[in-house]
Amino acid sequence: MLVAIGVLALVILLSLSVGNKALPPLQVWQSLIAPGDSYADAVVNSRVPRTVLGVLVGAALAVSGVVMQGLTRNPLGDPGLLGVNAGAAASIVTAVAFFGVPSAAPTVWVALPGAFLAVVIVHLLGSGPRGGKPLRLVLAGAVVTAVIAAYVQALSLSLPDVFDSYRYWVVGSLAGRDPAVIADILPFVLVGLALSLVLGPGLNALALGEDTATALGAHPTRTRLTGAVATTVLCAAATAAAGPIGFVGLAVPHIVRGFTGGDHRWLLAYSVILGPVLVLAADLIGRVLVRPQELMVGVVTAFVGGPMLLVAVRRMRAGR
């Protein structure tokens, strides 16, 4: 745990110091504890919101991934794969197009209904009478994503202004977001994280199967409901702030499971820390790889996370 926190601190420091203007870590530290108005301070200041956002988004996505995988007892649960991000995106684009919400600042409230709807549809589609098998849920997610994407494309192509802001947002990026966004999503992320962290024992019970869980005195229905709310809130917040970033919710739980085992309490705790590490690291890679331009974090996570999907599938087969 200490190692994980250490890694997070290191990544945060790097995130503040690396970029088009690289600063020595020592100077970053000075600017943080004793802010002046030197050039270095300005640079650090400009990187602070981005880093904070990365931490919030990373924690939110990773934890929602754990909860989703626990709830569906499905190692392929990921907000991106299951269409929740697409749902949030659709509802934001709708709001911008029809209700005159300023496209610069999509709020969490706007993203919520779409995300929730997507969660419900995917669960309805994916959980049949004999319980949802992993492939089923993923395919249901792919269907939902495809239909929603068609809708979003139709809207954004007919309204050039919407398209123009949408195409920057949809890649998933931490850069150039309004610092006010952080204040906007902070309460949602905190509530979502709190809800999720108390779910640990419930998810552990659920992992034994519905009947066993009930026999052990757990409340599967209550756990499911809380979990659904928590994942929706977390995904909506993360998506509203940074755009749809895929695969964080898939990759982090799988990495964590490698050294904690299947206990959801530990999974959740580690994900809170390692989610930000993954997102910030992806952001860093994006900044360094094609300097002086930047690769959006969503692009990097897709290329890191796509192979993770494969690892997950192989592990799944090996386990059975």
């Binding site: 495809a146 994407a149 890649v171 959006m296 290329f303 192979p307 999907l309 599938v313």
Partner: protein, 352 residues
């Protein structure tokens, strides 16, 4: 071509071309095919005649036979003619590609849209068009992207294409990567370019030229016979690899060849029309139900695909909106819903 062998109770009628090719067909299949062709013709006539710019019905035949000038020449030669030709051929191409993929993966969901081929081709096209303009032509970029995506899926599954469900999941991952890459290219480029590219990436038939039509018809002319040649062995593959091998189906090689042909077909379709979603997925399914045939009804799928795309494009052209949306959006919306229906049906049967 010799006359069909008489149909007894044990033999299905067969069309033979020498010793190389023999295609079994059923009466029902022939009737359905004829009906499909008639409906396609009807859709084509409506496409050319409907709307403000349409050629009036009595003038259509003379206009087709002679070389008309003026408005009719413009509509037929530039505006709607090439577009219609591209729509029919692209639809047919997608239908065949879908059939090949679905047969190889033994799963209706294993079609190019789901397994990342379209996304790969789109990413390739985007890169060729905007990121490195002028280095490689867009169709070559699409083929390159599609091939890379398929190679990634092939390597990713670890056992080639023999495990359908793993194949699909890996495909979804690859398609997410392709999609992310495309979004990155769009975000990087200027607004005008981005709009054009975005509409191409949805699959559009607007302002196609006779050059596009020539490309896709040529591809169809080469690849459709190849697909038909593979059809017989594909039927064996549907029975399972071991049975197929025992019957001389050479499952591994047949699978590889089919995928190669299907990738070429898909890339050809993408290069002229963009990744039009879900035609490849739905056409074989509909064709199968219409023909009530087990197995790869390649010709029927081609006709169904052509009909689907021509109809979708007609609807998009005549839709009462101010903006002409790309046809791919319509097919994605309708096809997506159909895919959902398909999923539920498959689950009830318990095949996934």
């Amino acid at each position: 071509m010799t006359a069909p062998v008489a149909s007894g109770s044990h033999h299905r009628p067969v069309v033979r071309v020498g010793d190389a090719l023999s295609i079994p067909y059923s009466r029902r299949g022939v009737v359905v095919f004829a009906v499909l062709v008639l409906v396609i013709a009807a859709v084509a006539v409506i496409t050319l005649t409907a709307g403000r710019l349409g050629i009036e019905l009595p003038n259509l035949l003379p206009a087709l036979l002679s070389d008309p000038g003026g408005k009719e020449g413009f509509v037929l030669g530039r505006l709607r003619g090439p577009r219609l030709a591209v729509a029919v051929a692209t639809g047919a191409t997608l239908g065949v590609a879908g059939t090949l993929f679905q047969t190889v993966t033994r799963n209706p969901l294993g079609s190019p849209d789901v397994i990342g081929l379209g996304a790969g081709a789109a990413a390739g096209a985007a890169a060729a068009g905007l990121l490195w303009p002028g280095v490689i032509p867009i169709p070559a970029g699409a083929l390159l992207g599609a091939s890379i995506a398929m190679a990634a899926v092939w390597l990713g599954t670890g056992r080639g294409f023999s495990s359908p469900s793993r194949f699909i999941i890996v495909g979804i991952g690859v398609s997410a990567m392709g999609y992310a890459f495309t979004q990155y290219v769009i975000a990087r480029s200027g607004r005008e370019q981005a709009t054009v590219l975005a509409s191409y990436l949805n699959g559009t038939l607007a302002s196609r030229s006779w050059g596009d039509a020539a490309v896709i018809w040529a591809a169809l002319a080469v690849l459709l016979p190849a697909a038909l040649l593979l059809g017989r062995r594909l039927l064996l593959i549907e029975m399972g690899d071991e049975t197929a091998d025992a019957l001389g189906g050479r499952s591994g090689r047949t699978r590889l060849l089919s995928i190669a042909v299907a990738v070429c077909l898909s890339a050809a379709a993408v290069s002229v029309a963009g990744p039009v979603a879900f035609v490849a997925l739905t056409a074989p399914q509909i064709a199968r139900r219409l023909g009530r045939m087990a197995g790869a009804g390649i010709v029927l799928s081609a006709a169904t695909g052509a009909l689907l795309l021509a109809t979708a494009d007609l609807l998009v052209q005549q839709a009462p909106f101010d903006v002409h949306l790309p046809v791919g959006i319509l097919t994605a919306a309708v096809g997506g819903v159909y895919l959902g229906y398909l999923l539920i049906r498959e689950w009830k049967k318990g095949t996934i």
